[in-house]
């Protein structure tokens, strides 16, 4: 709570950005828990899935080569994991994890870029601004080229 007390003066904006990074990181840690639990659950369920397949196969053919065992292992693990992946809880947990990770990156950027600016270091936002300008110019050039072609009747 203390870190959320607003600062005054020059450091105010910096503190807000720093706090945002910490909050985003804390949120990322928080949502990674349920996601990890689901994946761990799938890993746990893959054990009986593989053992069941091995037992069924062994009842038909007691001696199996390594390749057959590997196939049963892959089959069992995939069955356990894909059933987890198909659950709505997984979709929700994965979405939260991805969204939290992306927010953390954006907050990092908001914190770091002003500091880089103070040192005259070009930032990702600067590069994106240039990219956007280049893209707009590309569109303009294409439109002009087509107009010239239409007027002259010749390819440019």
């Amino acid at each position: 709570m203390l870190r959320n007390i607003p600062a005054l003066g020059l450091t105010r904006e910096l503190q807000v950005r720093c706090t945002n990074v910490v909050d985003a990181w804390a949120d990322l840690v928080r949502v990674s828990g349920p996601y990890s639990m689901l994946v761990a659950g799938a890993a746990t369920r893959s054990v009986p899935a593989v053992v069941g397949r091995l037992l069924r196969a062994a009842s038909r053919r007691p001696f199996m080569d390594g390749r057959t065992v590997a196939e049963l292992l892959i089959d069992g693990c995939d069955a356990a994991f894909t059933s987890t992946f198909d659950a709505p809880q997984y979709t929700e947990a994965q979405g939260r994890l991805v969204n939290a990770a992306m927010l953390y990156r954006r907050r990092q950027r908001e914190f770091v870029e002003p500091l880089l600016g103070l040192m005259h270091v070009a930032t990702r936002s600067d590069a994106e601004d240039i990219g956007r300008t280049v893209n707009d110019l590309r569109r303009d050039v294409r439109a002009l080229r087509r107009q010239v072609e239409a007027l002259s009747g010749r390819p440019v």
């Binding site: 196939e71 892959i74 991805v98 969204n99």
Partner: protein, 327 residues
Amino acid sequence: MTDDDVTLATAAKDAIHRDGKVTLYRYRPADAPSPSGTPLLVVYSLANRYTMLDLQDDRSLIRGLLGAGVDVYLVDWGYPTPQDRWLDFDDYVNGYLQDCVDVIRRDTGSPTVDILGVCMGGLLSLCYAALHPADVNALVLMGTAVDYHADEPRLNRWSRAVDVDGMVDALGNVPGELLSLAFFLRSPFRANLGKYVNLPDVFRTRDRARNFLRMEQWTYDSPDQPGEAYRQWVRDCCQDNRLVKGELYVGDRRVDLAAITMPVLNIYAEKDDLVSPASSLALERHIGSDDYQVLSYPVGHIGLYVSGKVQADLPRRIAGWLRERAL
């Protein structure tokens, strides 16, 4: 054997147009019949590389089409860099594709082109055909999603929980590796380990080893996705399903599938877990064409392009269908 022996996309071709990282190729005709009919523009997906279509001599859609006498052009989207982060569907459809079609028309003297759209390239092709129907003589789609919510595949469901605006704002271009990871999670152990179980057999002969390594090379050759195009694809198509609702905009123009009145051949994979057959088949309900055919094979999404059995049949079928509708 060295890595240099593992070559993909070796069918002879010439670059006839370049714009930034985008290249338009014209394939040199095969020995067999000389090319005839309307020129065919192949539009591959923005995800992964077109090299899949010419994986090796005996499993190559491109070589099959050339052998059947089709005049084949292909647009290679290249490898987008941060400079391309702002490219959106408007740039791809009304910019690059329109330019490629213009170049082909000048190159051949043909007033229209045939278009073969592959996977997400099929979406771009649908948009182009709907917005520029007078330019397109016939449209062929392969493994193309149309109704993104029909029998929804796992990746689509996952995408609904993702804040794609936040993702693109954070990442700019979306790394190809991230997409590959999502593709592999469709069946994580089979996709990542299963193929290596048979390695001892694979490396028994040089040819099989080369074929295996070609597939490996293609699998991990994943260009980054231009941020804005990715944002539009996930938000407008995967999440909001705007294509079939008639609410998808490319630039300031609405994509109305009913404007697609040219002949359409819709090819899908019956065991596709990336683009559900129901999603592809929905096309018939939305287009305005009265010349619509469907062709399917009992394979998965990738099998449509690399299965030896499919490639022994598919190019001939496409070429025959196009020939019947040639100008």
